[in-house]
């Protein structure tokens, strides 16, 4: 194993441990201003959206916001499926079906 790769792995590990566990050192008697804490409560939902959204509209570096984009169709289908039947497995399976089917139909 190359030393450089091992050090890179350790760097990524350090970045993860610091961000995940570091805040656990904070004294609970120190509390954030209520307004900031209230705003931070929205961060997880926003983070999930910011992670997922680009995946539905980019193929490589090309932005494609059209109804001939199979990934976008799958994302729309998944939203509708979850909003109506509230099943996560149906959302994932249904979304992938729409993705593969529309790709086949569009000949991509």
């Amino acid at each position: 194993m190359e030393a450089y790769v091992l050090l890179a792995i350790l760097a990524i590990t350090a970045a993860t441990l610091i961000t995940r566990s570091g805040p656990q050192f904070i004294d609970t008697r120190l509390s954030l201003p209520a307004r900031i804490e209230a705003a931070l409560r929205y961060a997880p939902a926003c983070a999930l959206a910011a992670i997922a959204a680009p995946d539905f509209v980019f193929s490589g570096d090309t932005l494609q916001v059209t109804l001939t984009n199979p990934k976008l169709l799958a994302g729309i289908a998944a939203t509708l499926i979850f909003a109506t039947i509230r099943s996560m497995i149906a959302t994932i399976v249904g979304g992938m079906m729409v993705f593969w089917l529309s790709r086949a139909l569009l000949g991509i």
Binding site: A8, S21, G22, T28, A47, L48, A52, A53
Partner: protein, 237 residues
């Protein structure tokens, strides 16, 4: 561990289960990507077990392949992981009664999906006991599914065709986590703004688009909440 503590742990573990197909697909894709970018099987397994941070790993792979300086890899992984700081701060009061070593241990299991589940659980049952055990149950289930799928991905990297587009399943899992949260108007505003902003800022280096998206979304949600409060009978303040 008392009976009720074990129950809370098992509930956390079980509640994560419906998300496991999405986590599995995501882990599989990350495993495949690590090997396809040039890591050998041993390196990929060590990276998966030590870092356990899918998006940070994926963001770092092109940097490692290109021989980028270590400080840039550290900085990039930190930027991508910055959302964990917020999660950890939000989790802190729920773990407050634990000794510091256990808090650090539990904190290291933080992840997007297990934390979304945890927040949904405490929103449903604000007074539930042993939420730290629930947190750890979900965190452990998430870890197991992820490592299993990631290692399968590493071993099968040469067999699974990229053309299947399996990585989309990970994003579909996130959709199923986001939609129920959008029942609250401010969250809906935040999610929409975060989505559009992260798409517009996608080209930024070090995956900074993620951070810009989160920042814009939080701000939008906060403003939407102010507007909602201002509009309802003079507000609370």
């Amino acid at each position: 561990m008392s009976v009720s503590e074990r129950d809370a742990f098992l509930r956390g573990f079980k509640d994560l289960w419906p998300s496991s197909p999405g986590i599995f697909a995501w882990g599989l894709v990350t495993g495949v990507a690590m090997v396809k970018s040039g890591l050998d099987v041993g390196e990929a397994v060590i990276l998966s077990l030590l870092a356990y941070a899918g998006s940070a790993q994926l963001a770092s792979l092109p940097l490692i392949a290109g021989g980028a300086p270590l400080w840039l890899i550290l900085l990039t992984a930190t930027m991508v992981n910055l959302r964990f700081v917020v999660y950890s701060v939000l989790a802190r009061p729920h773990l407050a009664h634990l000794p510091v070593r256990r808090r650090l241990w539990y904190g290291s299991f933080l992840g997007d999906i297990m934390f979304a589940r945890f927040l949904a659980h405490i929103a449903r049952e604000p007074l539930c006991p042993h939420r730290d055990r629930y947190f750890f149950g979900g965190g452990l289930a998430n870890w197991i599914v992820w490592q299993l799928s990631s290692i399968i991905g590493i071993l099968m990297a040469t067999i699974i065709p990229t053309s299947w587009g399996l990585e989309l399943a990970g994003s579909l899992t996130l959709v199923a986590l986001i939609v129920p949260l959008c029942a609250q108007r401010p969250v809906l505003a935040g999610v929409l703004v975060a989505s559009v902003t992260s798409i517009l800022a996608h080209g930024l280096p070090m995956r900074l688009g993620l951070l810009v998206g989160i920042g814009a979304g939080v701000l939008a949600a906060f403003c939407a909440e102010r507007v909602a409060i201002g509009g309802s009978a003079g507000g609370r303040r």
